[in-house]
């Protein structure tokens, strides 16, 4: 009776609920939106209105000037991601959403660290900087600014290592991401 792929239902017990699941991991959503005034407000406002928390948010142009990309990360332990994406899809200015698979995604974040370094500590910090592939972009008598690119894990690891030396301040961009391989994100 059923066409291929339609399972024969014998009893209601076989039915399983879909959706509304907490995945328990970090999600990176890559959202293409129309490049129009107020679109970011609509996205941010939706998160506020639905009590979803954004962990990081990065917005920038794409290769098409009429389209911007919003990359945001959120915690799948707290939010049902499918509900978040479905609500986002309802925004008329949202063109495409991808919930990026961690294994198939390159995610990078840029961070700037201003470190207090006096005398002998300087060499140690520079060594850490080299190990992490960071660059010193500003030097003064008593401080250094280090530029570091990488996954959020790497940036957090660097932060915890340099913090004892005296972290004056830090600024991070939030992750941006792109799919591995030939396919579009």
């Amino acid at each position: 009776m059923g066409e291929p792929g339609t399972k024969e239902l014998i009893s209601l017990d076989e039915l399983e609920a879909a959706g509304n699941l907490r995945t328990g991991r970090k999600h990176i959503l890559s959202i293409l939106v129309e490049n129009k005034p107020g679109v970011l407000t609509r996205v941010a406002g939706l998160f506020a209105r639905r009590a979803f928390n954004i962990d990081t948010l990065a917005v920038g142009p794409t290769d098409d000037e009429t389209i911007s990309r919003i990359t945001l990360t959120l915690d799948g332990a707290v939010h049902p991601i499918d509900q978040v994406t479905k609500q986002l899809h309802k925004l008329v200015n949202v063109l495409k959403i991808r919930d990026l698979e961690p294994e198939e995604t390159l995610a990078r974040e840029l961070a700037l660290f201003k470190l207090a370094v006096d005398g002998p500590q300087r060499a140690e910090v520079l060594q850490l900087c080299e190990i992490f592939g960071g660059r010193v972009v500003d030097v003064s008598k008593r401080s250094l600014v280090v530029e570091l690119t990488g996954s959020d894990d790497k940036i957090e690891a660097f932060e915890s290592l340099v913090r004892p030396f005296g972290l004056i301040e830090m600024t991070r961009t939030g992750e941006i991401a792109i799919a591995r391989g030939r396919g579009e994100t």
């Binding site: 609920a17 129309e34 406002g45």
Partner: protein
């Protein structure tokens, strides 16, 4: 031509019959265009009244309602109507004037960031940046308001742009790459749903306002009658299935019938159609319908599994999906006898717990009796609007709606003051029908100024005030859950509604005698023009049965 004249051409192209609005500084150009545009415009007395009138018009006719307001306070006065239309999925286009572009951001006179203020409460909104955008934007606004899950769309037009000259070319398409609502349900899912229904021993069909919006009442009826499926509707869905009927359980939810709520509680399969599992339906979510699997049919994918995880989700227009579901279900030739035990169980609840109230032995009018009298006086043939509160629930319980679009009320937002302007809009949209607003003495005062609009335009709404001198629903909650500490709910006998009606140029009648109530109401309904009927009812009557907030169906009281 001026952009505002192009705007009028766009409204005509959209088939707009009537606009409800109020002019002001920032939309003076628009109102100049109205002067000879040949579009009916009804001058309301408050923009909120205009917004709700546009909603009432939309709900009664199924067409897109239109409301205009000026900038600043004109626009902010529309916000309640915008929120209301969002919560109840009402297609309305709101067009506001905005201060001149050079003043935007300067806190200019009557400047308000209406776009920003309404962002969480609109289906979509547009701020006009260039006069050339106006025609396309207007058509896109109507397209978004009416398609998919309907809702409010705001268009904010700065004054200087509205008076600019533009070359006008009719627009016949829309360009909305990010807006493609799914209307066709997935065939495999529909087939699976049919099989689940055929396997269910204790099914319930639970229909909401989405069925009304999709004009799918006849398809719903086909489904219900394709077997002996018990059917219940939400407050917004009343009329989607004709009441009374042997398969009709009555409304469900906080003030629904026990038969409907207990059936949901014991069901093994619930088929939700155009309904969104609101907290007034589910009560305590963790104890809602604990034995049931769920089919959920909705045109808005985000509603599916939002509150209750669906086992068979079907995204699509209810009319489209139900028609195919009926075909699939009939092909299965399910055994009708399997529902016999279920119907016996339901019959037991119906017999044991009918809707009931203690009637009086003297002439005093019980509010429930007043609703029944309105039903008798109208023969159930009227379009009925209501405000929000006890009278609304009694109407939902005691007025049987035979068809969709006969019952117009504010369900999601629960907006007091909705009923009178909504009745006005419904009467303008359906001039051949009797339109009755069943109001509370508290609620009606929130938009009573629209009586002037009705009188001036000979809009013959009949306003039946269920007058108990209280903010009755709040008083009921204070009685039941706050130790009868009646805090600020006593409205006294103010105003004198008969005099108020007369002052507005309407007819006023006061009714206090149960024995002549139906005849008196008939006489009032037969009176020309707008009529206000002040029905004095028992002051401290409660709406029962009731699921106390946050509790489960099994905890029903009264």
């Amino acid at each position: 031509m001026r952009a505002v004249d192009a705007l009028m051409e766009c409204l005509k192209a959209e088939g707009v019959e009537v606009v409800f609005g109020l002019p002001g500084g920032a939309n003076l150009p628009t109102y100049d265009a109205f002067y000879d545009a040949g579009i009916r415009h009804i001058l309301v007395r408050h923009e909120a009244g205009g917004g709700h009138a546009a909603e009432g018009y939309a709900k009664a006719t199924g067409k897109v309602g239109v409301a205009f307001g000026t900038s600043g306070p004109g626009a902010t006065n529309l916000i309640t109507a915008i929120c209301d239309a969002m919560m109840d999925s009402v297609p309305v286009v709101f067009i506001t004037g905005q201060v001149r572009t050079e003043l935007i951001g300067t806190d200019g006179f009557q400047e308000a960031d209406i776009l920003g203020m309404t962002l969480p409460a609109v289906k979509h909104s547009f701020m006009i940046q260039h006069p050339l955008e106006i025609p396309r934007t207007i058509h896109e606004a109507f397209h978004i308001a009416r398609t998919g899950r309907p809702g409010p769309v705001l268009v904010d037009i700065p004054q200087d742009l509205s008076r600019a000259d533009i070359p006008y070319e009719p627009v016949n398409d829309v360009h909305l790459p990010g807006y493609q609502p799914t209307t066709e349900g997935n065939q495999k899912q529909i087939r699976l749903a049919a099989k689940a229904l055929a396997n269910a021993r204790r099914p319930v069909i639970y229909a909401g306002g989405g069925v009304v919006n999709a004009n799918a009442a006849s398809e719903l009826r086909e489904l219900v009658l394709s077997d002996r499926f018990p059917i219940t509707c939400t407050l917004m869905g009343l009329g989607a299935f004709p009441a009374p009927h042997e398969q009709w359980l009555g409304m469900l939810g906080m003030h629904g019938t026990r038969a409907a709520n207990y059936a949901m509680d014991e069901a093994d399969l619930i088929c939700a159609i155009g309904a969104r599992f609101d907290d007034r339906i589910t009560g305590k979510l963790s104890e809602f319908a604990p034995r049931a699997k769920f089919i959920h049919i909705d045109v808005d994918p985000a509603e599916i599994s939002k509150n209750v995880p669906a086992h068979i989700p079907i995204v699509g227009d209810a009319k489209n999906v139900l028609a195919r579901l009926v075909t699939e279900y009939r092909a299965l030739s399910a055994d009708r006898a399997r529902l016999e035990d279920w119907w016996q169980r339901i019959a037991g609840w119906r017999a044991q717990y009918p809707l009931r109230y203690e009637d009086t032995t003297d002439t005093e009018i019980r509010p429930q009796r007043a609703i029944q009298a309105v039903f008798e006086a109208t023969g159930g043939e009227a379009i009925v609007t209501s405000d929000v509160g006890q009278h609304q629930m009694w109407t939902a319980q005691y007025y049987d709606f035979p068809e969709p679009r006969r019952w117009i009320n504010s369900g999601g937002l629960g907006t007091m003051g909705f009923g009178l302007p909504a009745a006005m809009g419904a009467a303008v949209g359906c001039p051949d029908r009797t339109v009755v607003c069943i109001a509370g003495d508290g609620s009606v005062q929130m938009n009573a100024q629209e009586l002037a609009t009705c009188a001036q335009n000979a809009i013959p709404v009949k306003v039946v005030i269920i007058n108990n001198g209280y903010l009755g629903m709040v008083r009921q909650w204070q009685e039941l859950f706050w130790d009868k500490r009646y805090s600020h709910v006593d409205m006294g006998s103010y105003p004198d509604f008969v005099k108020l009606a007369e002052a507005y140029g309407a007819t006023g009648v006061r009714l206090t005698d149960k024995t002549t109530l139906v005849d008196d109401l008939k006489a009032a309904l037969a009176t020309e023009g707008p009529v206000v009927v002040d029905v004095r009812v028992t002051a401290e009557e409660n709406v029962y049965p009731m699921i106390p907030a946050g509790q489960a169906a099994r905890d029903m009281v009264g």
